[in-house]
């Protein structure tokens, strides 16, 4: 199935694409068919900068269980950061 469900998240940071590092302004998150991963559905994230064109993209296609582990690791890392290091959400 094609889910169509897509979350668009404004972000800031940097990503490294085929032309080197560039500033990131958007992340698109969706569970859908991958382009490359050998699975029917993957959790896909495109870290993007649309103002720099379609190729300004860092893409990942993750096994859904792996995506959850990564997400939990990210949250745990942020939660465990020393006081003052991370701005409150």
């Amino acid at each position: 199935m094609c889910t169509y469900s897509t979350a668009n998240v404004p972000i800031s940071g940097s990503g490294k694409g085929t032309a080197g590092w560039f500033p990131l302004t958007a992340a698109t998150v969706y569970l859908d068919h991958p382009v490359d991963a050998p699975a029917e559905h993957t959790l896909n994230i495109d870290f993007r900068n649309p103002d720099r064109g379609a190729a300004a993209r860092v893409a990942v296609e993750l096994d859904p269980a792996a995506a959850r582990e990564v997400a939990e690791a990210i949250l745990a890392m942020l939660d465990a950061a020393p006081p003052g290091l991370v701005e409150p959400a």
């Binding site: 199935m1 094609c2 169509y4 495109d46």
Partner: protein, 250 residues
């Protein structure tokens, strides 16, 4: 008999006379023949869709794949272009319909056209097939093939971030015979949506034939994905040849 084909990237006039990229495959034999517009799926103007165009050419049809994302992401790789367009919420239905109509006109303008043009699409392209056959003027499309298109009857999920609204209210305008090929294990479209689609067509008196394959889900034609189901795909191709053979012959 000359069974050679030619396939190449070209530029055609799309909706609004915009120049857009397209992949054109056709037999070299000059015998008049039908044409097929292939609507690429959400993941874009990719290798598999181009391979399907060559398959249509090998089987005696002039086939064209308009790059529906060309205006948004010219010269980008198909996956980058698809990601870019997804981030924008997809493409507008009106532009899609215009591009399909323009691609049909391109095929009819070929010296070897017999004047008949069909359309086929998979996944998101399946919905767009039905949309095109409802919105384009009668006589633009002579046969339409919807391969597991979702959100014909039901709208896309609330807050999905993508444009894919129900086109049930347009079905009264459907003006081409429709072949629908579905997987019984698909969730989008689920068998209940397919059944409702069929009921609407019956009530409206529209010519159609639907086939649903047990043991197949979404994207069973996609040879490059784990969803590929050879038995369903082989039978599906036979249905397509039979359907287009009846409706795209001069």
């Amino acid at each position: 008999m000359n069974d050679a084909i030619q396939a190449e990237t070209t530029m055609i006039a799309g909706a609004g006379a915009d120049q857009i990229q397209a992949y054109f495959a056709r037999p070299l034999d000059p015998t008049p023949r039908g044409g097929v517009v292939l609507i690429h799926h959400l993941p874009g103007y990719d290798q598999l869709t181009k391979e399907m165009a060559r398959t249509f050419a090998v089987n005696g049809y002039q086939a064209i794949v308009p790059n529906l994302y060309w205006r948004d992401a010219p010269d980008a790789s198909p996956d980058d272009a698809a990601a870019f367009v997804r981030g924008q919420g997809g493409i507008a239905d009106e532009r899609l319909v215009g591009d399909v109509g323009a691609a049909a006109a391109f095929l009819r303008g070929q010296p070897a056209s017999n004047g008949k043009v069909g359309v086929i699409g998979h996944c998101s392209g399946g919905r767009q097939v039905v949309l095109s056959a409802c919105d384009l003027p009668a006589g633009t499309l002579d046969a339409a093939v919807d391969c597991y298109g979702a959100f014909v009857i039901l709208s896309g999920p609330e807050g999905s971030g993508m444009r894919a609204t129900s086109i049930k209210d347009k079905l009264a305008n459907l003006n081409a015979p429709l072949l629908g090929l579905f997987g019984a294990d698909d969730k989008f479209p689920a068998p209940a949506e397919v059944a409702e689609f069929e009921k609407s067509l019956t009530e409206l008196g529209k010519p159609y034939e639907f086939h649903s394959y047990e043991g197949a889900g979404h994207a069973f034609f996609a040879t490059d994905r784990p969803s590929y189901r050879p038995e369903a795909a082989k039978d599906g191709w036979q249905r397509i040849w039979d359907f287009y053979g009846r409706h795209l012959s001069a």
